[in-house]
Symmetry: C2
Subunit: 216 residues, 2 copies
């Protein structure tokens, strides 16, 4: 499948490389291709399977688009990617509305009565937004089987059943086995508010390779 | 040990009965003893080991006090219990700042930059507040071993190390094995914000007998 990944931070690059590893044709979108490559030249040299492109090119390339931009940068990045390049497509939204202006742990700039995922959905009504992967860090996202043999849970939500089915299929390719569908996209409020615990657990555990298992 | 439980809803009664069952001397505090007994007469007749008392009596009775009042009713109930009856004591705060005014799922009337537990701590500075048990429902609280043999996690927080140690000892008597200390009481923000997911998981799972296991 053709996948466009938006966001060239560590998480975006890790996902892009992993999608390529499991056989997909991946374009990784950034605002400035040359500057992004120059900043992490060794990484891009080591991952020729990940084609660096503009955000619009990556969105146009993808049958599925995955947003791994910062929360604060998400709406601008998607606008830059272009509504027409995103129309009709599954957009897996991995972002979190983190506000680090008061230090760590961050607060959330949208929460409780709204979510960043819903903002994205309102701004791009023809795109089929699925919230997923925002509750875990890079290594767990990309290699869930490396944590407790995969015995932990991924929560997803979204308004479009078929989009969630497509996204879940892609996530299973990464090794995710226990994918729990919360329902419509308003449930992303809960997924994003998890960050209030995630950041505190991270501080206490001392590393990011953890997740929760839903025991029911 | 002498334990005072505040709050005569289903969770308060379940905890009071369970503390008595494991050998403690329990007083259950309510605003109006006769009215509370009349409303649930069969339950109180069936649990003579739980002594119904005023909130002040229950707080005075307890070496440990456990607040299982609604979030909205917590500060008034504790004021009624009396600061002098709570001074120096471990107060296990099980409450959640749920606002049901807009229906289900509820929103939170304090969050992100503050928590209900911290409000309680500020209002009762001589009391040693420990946030615990707010992330699970009655049956899981009182009988954690009945869910997956107890293989799931309880998060606690609080400013006083010794208070957390005392509270953890009591929780272990109920069957809790994996008790994870988040740190100081500001971490209660994360514990209370979990409700945004708990309520949505409950809606989807269809029952309240679930919890998370912290996989790390």
């Amino acid at each position: 499948m053709r996948i466009g990944v938006l966001g060239t931070g560590a998480a975006g690059r890790a996902l892009a490389a992993r999608f390529a590893e499991v056989g997909h044709d991946v374009a990784l979108g950034t605002r400035e291709v040359d500057a992004t490559r120059a900043k992490e030249e060794a990484w891009y040299d080591g991952h020729p399977e990940v084609r660096l492109a503009t955000q619009a090119e990556a969105a146009a390339h993808g049958e599925i688009v995955v947003n791994v931009c910062s929360g604060a940068g998400t709406l601008a990045a998607l606008a830059n990617a272009g509504a027409s390049n995103l129309a009709g497509k599954v957009l897996v939204d991995v972002s979190n509305p983190l506000d680090f202006s008061q230090g760590f742990p961050p607060t959330l700039f949208v929460k409780d009565t709204d979510s960043l995922a819903e903002r994205v959905q309102r701004e791009f009504p023809e795109t089929r937004v699925v919230k997923a992967l925002n509750m875990v860090a890079n290594e767990v996202m990309t290699h869930p089987l490396d944590l407790a043999g995969g015995d932990h849970t991924l929560l997803i939500s979204g308004n479009d059943e078929q989009a969630k089915s497509v996204a879940s299929g892609l996530l299973r390719e990464l090794g995710w086995a226990d994918i729990f569908d919360l329902g419509d996209l308003s449930n992303a409020r809960g997924q994003e508010m998890w960050m209030a615990l995630w950041t505190r657990l991270y501080r206490k555990i001392g590393h990011v390779n953890f997740n929760i298992k839903l025991v029911r």
